[in-house]
Symmetry: C2
Subunit: 301 residues, 2 copies
């Protein structure tokens, strides 16, 4: 018989489209162990979630165990749909939804996402990060930027999500770099700070020219041997600059926090700095766990 | 022995990345026959062009025959590179380049493309269409829009290409509709005029918001059951509107001609009409042939 090396008091789970990350937690909120899995929501059918979870964290379960999960696990294609809560609302909206389980010791709660009616917008997972940030920064008012595939700008006031706007910037970067004619001009990696800055300036000052600047990257490759790493950095600058031009009503004159992958967050902070808008950088993974912990504590009352 | 049903005096060829189209021409410029092939430049290596051409038009060759070709056949990856001629230049730039052939009766000339140094830009094939248009409209000054995968706006004055700008609008439409999360929200076909108009207004008035409007299409699908044909039309409107906002220095107060696929041209003409900018529609295929004919006549002196 195998001895559990870790017994979780409860388990925190960040379950996105591509991956799942779980933490074995003590009652006092200490991390006892960590696990990751590539069994993201996108790869699973409804009855595949429980086996995927148990395969990753089953060893931590020794008696009745509560799981708190956030992210796409609560989407219509997820384990169970946790319907969006409408803005304005608390950053960790009420309405945890219990997912069906076969394992008798397992109780799984999914955190709902947030929706905005007009303009139509949705988030799932980010509400938990925002909640974690506010748990660590009580009473904070301002704007949180969460860069990623679908970058969010979120206006926070009096502990509520007042409004938010999503930009498809990250997905546009990946798709344009990999699926268009620019794939011949853009390196798979590498960087050039000056090219990023030039793209940023173009994007902020003339955002309407995006589709023309994109073709210029191709033409500069053909005519001027623009290096692939410079084209890559300039594309990133163009897209982030265009986003900043549109998100100005969000960030102008506001206290700003950037929560995300460290490399991408730095690009946004650099970009905001050129507009005299200082921003604080927040580690995404730690703040997600803080948000899941807040949800667990609230559920326990 | 097979009898040729058609003997071409010369052959006109429009050879793009995806397809090839050829016309058997009489000395006086009458079309005797037409052929198409899916052997585009993108599928051929250098020594594959002559066999591909002969497979499509070999029956028309009965004695020494001249071929005039335009398009990507003259790119670096084509039959032979016909180096770009720099703006400002004639619409049919000098410098036909002869391609190597094995068939002793075959003489093939490729029309060079046009490049612009700053901002860096290139065209290949469009110069022939522009030339055909000017042959039919002598002395015409104004702006020609050539919508497509890479839409061109070209400023024509005194029979010269003064400047031009390429927008990756068509390729963005296809890539965003097929390769991003919007593929779940956008129908493969279908249309909605009101949604196109709404997208157009958004694109023209707030072009910087493109990446946010894209995600709104997804959110409107999730929250408001926006139909896929409406999402498709709105995406088209958004992208064309954003392009018009940037191309305003080209079209504002100018005589405008639109050369392209008939459906796409109509969208551009509708869009320009909302800006009180009337434009004439020109059939792309007929005008390409007119341009190839102009090049042939000029070569014959």
């Amino acid at each position: 018989m195998t001895q559990n090396t870790v017994t979780a008091d409860w388990i925190a789970v960040d379950w996105g489209t591509s991956n799942m990350r779980a933490w074995a937690m003590s009652a006092s909120g200490t991390v006892l162990a960590e696990a990751t899995s590539d069994q993201g929501m996108g790869k699973l059918t409804k009855d595949g979630f429980e086996p995927a979870l148990l395969s990753a964290v089953g060893d931590w379960i020794n008696g009745p165990t509560t799981v708190i999960a956030c992210g796409m696990v609560g989407s219509r294609q997820g384990w169970i749909e946790a319907p969006y809560v409408a803005t304005p609302c608390g950053t960790l909206p009420d309405g945890l939804v219990e997912a069906p389980t076969l394992h008798t010791d397992l109780t799984v709660y999914v955190i709902p996402g947030i929706k905005q009616t007009n303009p139509a917008d949705v988030m799932r997972g980010e509400e938990t990060q925002i909640s974690g940030f506010l748990a660590r920064n009580p009473g904070w008012d301002g704007v949180i930027c969460l860069p990623g595939t679908h970058t969010k700008w979120v206006h926070i006031s009096a502990d509520e999500v007042v409004s938010f706007q999503t930009f498809m910037t990250g997905e546009l970067f990946a798709t344009i770099a990999n699926e268009t004619v620019l794939r011949h001009s853009i390196a798979a990696d590498g960087w050039d700070d000056a090219a990023f800055s030039a793209g940023l300036d173009m994007g902020i000052s003339r955002p309407e020219r995006l589709a023309a600047r994109l073709f210029s990257l191709r033409a500069n490759g053909l005519l001027n041997d623009m290096p692939g790493n410079a084209a890559r950095a300039q594309l990133s600058g163009l897209l982030i600059g265009t986003e900043l031009a549109a998100a100005k009503p969000y960030w102008l004159g506001q206290q700003i926090a950037v929560i995300g992958d460290s490399g991408l967050s730095k690009l946004y902070i650099t970009a905001l700095a050129t507009q005299a808008a200082p921003a604080m950088q927040v580690n995404a993974q730690a703040i997600t766990l803080a948000g899941l912990t807040t949800a667990y504590k609230r559920m326990k009352g």
